[in-house]
């Protein structure tokens, strides 16, 4: 290996192998994914899945991205054979490529310092999420999550108390005449988290108890 051009050629070939396998190949297979017509958990009618998230949730994804929430929370449920995600009831089925069709950016995360959030929208409500953001340790003792109070505003109550002021227990309660109101960023973040629900049944992940998937049947019914 004393010739520069030969070295370059070899490097080019090896690099190309890896690139074909991890960039081009997947792009050819997954680049053309589209919505599916399928059944969604808890709903008898077939519908499109996944659906693009609503505007406020999209803004919330920006808050999630900017603050690096994905360093502590993953957004993917592994199959039952590969880890305890389903046992920990973070999802009823494994996550699939289709679930992230409209995410921008896709933030799968790589470590769980907090629980997985792939289906947090199915197990929480907006108010609970806001309370957790304001004071995580009030909800879960010993939680490692920092409080995100900079997403909230403590302000004087105007003519009427604000309808979305947080209802806080005594130690957190603001001084009399004041209220704690989520800023737009907090509301958007909550909307984003509520939009996280991987509840459509897909070909690779049929509903429990069903050996084959119902999706093709639904499709043909729609076609007829």
């Amino acid at each position: 290996m004393n010739r520069g051009p030969l070295l370059f050629l070899g490097l080019f070939a090896t690099m190309a192998c890896s690139w074909l396998g991890f960039v081009l190949g997947p792009q050819l297979q997954l680049g053309g994914l589209t919505q599916t017509n399928t059944v969604v958990l808890g709903d008898a009618l077939s519908q499109s899945y996944p659906v693009p998230e609503p505007g406020d949730a999209r803004q919330g994804a920006e808050v999630y991205r900017a603050n690096g929430c994905a360093f502590c929370h993953t957004e993917m449920v592994r199959p039952r054979s590969l880890g305890s995600d389903i046992v920990q009831s973070w999802g009823a089925r494994r996550s699939l490529a289709e679930d992230y069709l409209f995410d921008q950016p896709v933030m799968l995360g790589s470590q769980r310092i907090g629980p997985d959030l792939a289906n947090v929208g199915l197990r929480s409500d907006t108010n609970g999420i806001l309370l957790r953001l304001y004071d995580p340790r009030r909800i879960i003792r010993g939680s490692l999550m920092p409080s995100y109070r900079f997403l909230f505003e403590t302000r004087k109550i105007g003519f009427f108390p604000s309808p979305d002021a947080l209802v806080l227990p005594p130690p957190d309660r603001p001084p009399p005449g004041c209220e704690v109101v989520p800023r737009p960023a907090a509301r958007a973040l909550a909307a984003y988290l509520m939009s996280l629900r991987q509840n459509g049944y897909l070909f690779e992940a049929p509903p429990p108890g069903q050996k084959t998937n119902a999706v093709p049947a639904v499709k043909t019914a729609a076609a007829k």
Partner: protein, 478 residues
């Protein structure tokens, strides 16, 4: 650019001979700029890491400041470590090795200097933007979209000079370190442009983004930094022992297998992508056992008669300990890719432990070993210019710091994984029960930081010595 034999023999330039023959005093400047900037970035990264680590002692620590909240600091820390410390130091090391092994003078040193300055300023802006919430959202590729092209231009400025230097080499026969440097120089623009185009400029659809980000981050550490670090090990260990490398064939085997297998990987088991991609990643990672064994055998057979002198020289000591950490990190990566193990260890502190061992243990120590050799020579001083007490303290702090962090995080990760596989344990409980090792790791991080500060002090000292000497020489001439 004229080529001066005498200057090439003693490093890039900066030897007294080089000055006499008129290549100018400028040559060490670009390399010093790359190295000094890199070590300062390492200091920044370690400080940010310490802030993050302290948040595990008290989650409310600096939580009120959006700029210093965990996620932003963590992103800034990653960026500072990989792009502030890793890339420039790999480039500097590569340029120095290409000059020395090719017996060529550094091509267009002012362009390299320009590139280095441009890189550091662009990155500083990028890191500031990350702290202000401009994170791109892709791990290992955190800076905002406008920063990537700036960094790319800066890299190209330096990279082109490196290739010209390589092309002007006067030594026909290539030494393994040169392959590794060239490999690294070639790898970076490819992965960086792939990430820039498919993540930031024209984002790929859906989960492909996550896949591409994984692949780029894996290649940036495993191949780019791995190649750069190994280039240094392959040069300094035989050089300082005064023995030839045992086998160039084994080195070639390691080189090509790292390029081929080491570049495939980084996709976690159970990731939401078609199964063949995950299989490819697992198989690639599994096969990195080949370069691991090749490197281990090669170095063992090179040093086996000199085992007792390995600790005598600071460069040698840093380098071989770094190499050990590379082997451990590689073995852990293979173990962690096995489906049975990954079911327990994926997404826990296990991965963070490996990444710390690779970056601070392998790459950090290897680089410091090289810097202890290169810097005095660049400045025209002897190796005795270093203050030995600071040097020794740096080694022990860095070594023990890496070890403490690693052991504590691995135990936290494995504990977390095992506890989580029992459905009776709630997630919050598991996290509470694995707090102790996590908190111990802060101590390790503090030690690495203090070690780096000692290095900076030592570095500042030899810079002052060199300045004084320059001034004295100028007076003499006058």
């Amino acid at each position: 650019m004229s080529i001066v034999v005498s200057s090439a023999r003693t490093g890039c330039s900066a030897s007294p001979q080089a000055r006499k023959e008129g290549t100018g005093d400028a040559h060490p400047v670009p390399l010093l700029c790359l190295f000094a900037g890199a070590v300062l970035w390492l200091f920044v990264a370690l400080t940010l890491g310490l802030i993050d680590s302290l948040k595990f002692h008290n989650p409310e620590f600096l939580a009120g400041e959006p700029y210093l909240s965990y996620g932003r600091v963590h992103a800034a820390q990653n960026t500072a470590l990989l792009y502030g410390f890793g890339v420039p130091v790999a480039l500097g090391l590569g340029l120095w090795l290409l000059c020395r092994l090719g017996r060529a003078a550094l091509a267009a040193p002012w362009v390299v200097l320009l590139g280095a300055l441009f890189w550091n300023f662009a990155l500083a802006a990028g890191v500031a933007a990350v702290l202000c919430g401009g994170r791109s959202g892709y791990e290992g590729f955190e800076f905002p979209a406008w920063c990537a092209p700036l960094l790319f231009v800066a890299y190209i400025l330096i990279g082109v000079c490196a290739f010209v230097t390589f092309d002007r080499r006067r030594e026909e026969k290539l030494y393994p370190s040169q392959w590794f440097v060239i490999g690294a120089l070639f790898w970076f623009p490819w992965i960086f442009s792939t990430a820039g185009l498919l993540l930031l400029a024209a984002p790929a659809r859906g989960v492909l983004q996550a896949l591409i980000a994984c692949w780029c981050a894996h290649n940036l550490s495993g191949v780019f930094l791995g190649f750069a670090g190994l280039a240094s090990s392959f040069y300094f260990i035989p050089k300082i022992l005064g023995r030839p490398l045992h086998s160039h064939y084994l080195a070639a085997l390691a080189f090509w297998t790292i390029a081929l297998f080491g570049s495939c990987g980084g996709v976690p088991n159970g990731a939401p992508v078609p199964a063949w991609i995950v299989s490819l990643s697992v198989v690639g990672t599994g096969l990195t056992i080949v370069p691991l064994l090749a490197v281990a055998t090669n170095f063992y057979l090179t040093v086996r008669r000199d085992l007792e002198v390995l600790d005598a020289d600071p460069t040698l000591r840093f380098t071989y300990v770094g190499l050990m950490f590379w082997l451990i990190a590689g073995a852990q990566q293979i173990a962690g890719a096995l489906p049975g193990v990954s079911a327990i260890t994926d997404f826990t502190w296990f991965g963070a432990a490996r990444s710390g061992l690779f970056h601070n243990g392998f790459f950090g120590l290897t680089v410091f070993g090289a810097l202890y050799y290169i810097l005095p020579r660049l400045l025209g001083l002897g190796p005795a210019a270093w203050r030995p007490g600071l040097l020794k303290a740096h080694f022990f702090l860095a070594f023990l710091g890496v070890l403490i962090t690693y052991v504590s995080l691995v135990s936290a990760g494995v504990g977390q994984g095992i506890l989580l596989s029992d459905a009776r344990n709630s997630f919050a409980d598991v996290m509470r029960r694995t707090m102790l090792p996590l908190r111990v790791s802060t101590l390790g991080e503090l030690m690495i930081l203090v070690g780096t500060v000692l290095f900076l002090l030592n570095f500042a000292r030899i810079l002052i010595l060199a300045c004084r000497r320059c001034r004295a020489e100028a007076k003499e001439r006058a």
